[in-house]
Symmetry: C2
Subunit: 257 residues, 2 copies
């Protein structure tokens, strides 16, 4: 199964610790990885079709503390689509002068919507096809970047359609907010004052967040499986769309499926 990782913070924060936790799981996930970092409206997007455990690009991401307020990462275990760079999540498109980043965990069987708009898949995954359809439908629903609340409302109407075709755990961000939709498996946590320490579930590595943070810092982390052993991770309920802004959960809405 693929692994998702998302981060939404109220102050630019690095994800070296969490990404190290994710990359440790990469031995069973040799089919590429990718990570996208928003810095305001700008975006850094690293992908590699080599596994995250040994990729020089992953090594850079683990060691170079890129500070970002919205991050989406994905480690791939190919189920649909060949192992190729163009099939590596997260996918990026531009709409209304904003970049949009999308990563998906799960399988959609037979979701073949008509793509008549400005967004076409470059690769051959079910995930990129679903993303292009979402972007097409968002573009039809609004004339310019709407508020986060309006986007959440539109997404709640759209998500059930692909979700009816299989498991559709996803992360989506436009740099203003991060949306997390769970159908089978997605967990989240908010780290805030007073900060404790945490130990990675899969690697002998601990971090004491108290020494690395200011009292006002707040960061939400979303991942397929809890990444740490000693923190109170919560599960995203099936069919629920959660919205993260400023490092906190700002909305939790059942989709209209």
């Amino acid at each position: 199964m693929c692994q998702l990782l998302g981060m939404n913070a109220n102050t630019p924060t690095d994800v070296c610790f969490s990404f190290t936790g994710l990359a440790t799981r990469a031995d069973e996930h040799r089919d590429g990885f990718g990570i996208a970092f928003f810095e305001d409206k700008g975006l850094r997007h690293f992908v590699d079709h080599h596994g995250a455990r040994h990729s020089p690009v992953a090594e850079l991401v683990k060691r170079y503390p890129i500070r970002s307020d919205n991050v989406i990462a994905h480690i791939r275990k190919a189920t649909q689509g060949r192992v190729a760079l163009e099939n590596t999540h997260p996918f990026v498109r531009e709409l209304w002068g904003r970049y949009w980043v999308f990563a998906h965990n799960g399988d959609l069987k037979g979701f073949m919507p008509r793509l008549h708009g400005a967004f076409r898949p470059v690769g051959d995954t079910d995930s990129e096809r679903a993303f292009c359809w979402l972007m097409q439908e968002l573009a039809k629903a609004h004339a310019a970047v709407p508020s986060v609340a309006e986007l959440t409302h539109t997404l709640c109407e759209l998500l059930p359609r692909p979700a009816a075709h299989g498991s559709f755990n996803l992360l989506l961000s436009n740099g203003q907010a991060l949306w997390a939709h769970g159908t089978t498996r997605l967990h989240w946590i908010v780290r805030q004052h007073p900060f404790g320490s945490a130990r990675l579930a899969d690697e002998d590595l601990s971090v004491d967040f108290a020494t690395q943070t200011a009292a006002s810092d707040r960061v939400a982390v979303i991942a397929t499986e809890p990444l740490t052993l000693d923190e109170p991770w919560l599960a995203v309920a099936p069919g629920v769309l959660q919205v993260f802004e400023g490092g906190r959960l700002s909305g939790s809405v059942p989709t209209g499926g």
Copy 2:
């Protein structure tokens, strides 16, 4: 002045040597750099708003031999637009299920075309605006990815419009070909059998291509200024659009300006 670097090869080739030459010039160009590598239809896109001379991302690109058939790199000296990640070339968009990569050297004064299509700038540079307009006009001119010859023809009709507003040296690629348009300053060279050696113009570094290549390899390199001292670089004539495919010049067409 910004520095452009393009590479088009008949077999996936790394650009470590040429990128090192380009990055050496980065001391006067502290305002960010970017590089995009096609691997078939897939794309790796590295950007940093820190200068290429000291960026860990640039260090990765110099040391990790990413093999690609089409590369576009840019080192920025900000003239229009703030120093910010979203203003860092090359820019990427998707059209017809293909990624398109664009980098520009020069200044366009007062080029404010109406952007009514699916492509909007994320940042605030004249370059990204011109790219969005080009993509919009290409999307109107063709229904799906046309042949390289047809694209060249359409580009020849389009390029004079922005070029009338200033200097418009640019590199564009969709992974199938690399287009280079010069108005003031752009040079190119084809390296092929029998390979010689070359010494970087700005750094005490030489390479003997004969030891690193097969006899059938062929690679075209395009750069703002000649990168090496001992090779016969040619200038792109003002107003001419050159097309590179399979590591050779496949077309050289005066634009209709």
